[in-house]
Subunit: 199 residues, 2 copies
């Protein structure tokens, strides 16, 4: 990025570091901020500082929270015998929107990806094992995505937990709701077949 | 945006205010910032503050600059008798990349758009008229985009300048380079016909 205005280039580079922001968008965002009033700028930087300062990981499930313990872990109505293991806070939000899950979570903060240098010990697996030490937990649902990294992580966790004698399950794979068969790819279709059930 | 984490929602709303950032992207950006180290957060907020503090409008052409006068206006080799009037700093950057223009600029910081409450007096037209008061300027090229607002603004400026007796021109409209005739829309094609030239 080279506009000849150093402070603008530095700001655009900062935006370009964020996920999904290309060089052109980054420059556009930087220019948009220059149109802000000083009060708007202060509100924006304060929001960044506040979020970083107030939000931390729940000491139980590792999800992001601004309270001592996250609302899910703190809720006595949630079933503490079922833990749903997910990649990140966004996956928790997705499950919470569905409202049909009443167990608790464990947030890995990543997926195993040797290419990106994310090895099992950078995830919160030690913390997960600690949660399984008493006999509270009866089932662990490994709910990572159906991507290469998601599947590799799921496989790793199922092997890690198998000596503990806890039930380890995974999400069903198959045709998504509203999905037309002719547009389903081969892997989805073969998994839908494999996972077929009685009426 | 409602994640149940107030500081996160506030930050996501801040991102959603920026152009081209939807609610989902805004949440993703906010979550990405939470992964930053405190040093990275400091660098980001400093870049915002710095850009806002150091960058201002050139007192001559109204383009953004971090110097007293922008490099184009300060360059004695640039032809001060031709002013290219553009919507914003990005348009100046686009012209400067082409390198075939040797005149100077005037940045309007917007286009007339009654729907968005942008009237002629919110643009830098007063400043443009002041630049035309001595006899230095021989030609004004109105280089706003070929959109409704761009054309309305161009028309307004040409009428505004006509009593001054300065040559007012506009960019050629026609088939873009690489454009196939069959994909050109009717307006583009009729303008290309209108603007036809001898070989």
């Amino acid at each position: 990025m080279n506009t000849g205005i150093e402070a603008l280039d530095i700001l655009a580079e900062q935006f370009a570091r964020l996920p999904g922001i290309g060089r052109k968008s980054a420059q556009r965002l930087a220019l948009a901020l220059l149109e802000y009033t000083p009060e708007d700028i202060a509100a924006f930087t304060a929001a960044i500082g506040d979020a970083k300062e107030k939000i931390h990981r729940c000491p139980i499930c590792e999800n992001l929270t601004d309270r001592e313990v996250c609302p899910v872990c703190a809720n006595p109505a949630r079933d503490k015998s079922v833990i749903c293991v997910v990649e990140d806070a966004r996956a928790v939000m997705a499950f919470e929107r569905v409202r049909s899950y009443n167990g608790v979570y464990h947030v890995l903060h990543g997926l195993i990806s040797p290419m990106s240098g994310i090895t099992p010990d950078t995830l919160t697996l030690r913390e997960l094992l600690l949660r399984l030490q008493d006999d509270t937990v009866k089932e662990v649902i490994v709910a990572t995505g159906a991507t290469t990294e998601g599947e590799a992580t799921a496989m790793y966790i199922s092997r890690l937990l198998s000596p503990l004698g806890i039930k380890v399950t995974r999400l069903a794979h198959g045709i998504p709701y509203g999905g037309e068969l002719e547009y389903a790819d081969e892997i989805t279709l073969s998994r839908a077949l494999e996972g077929r059930r009685d009426f």
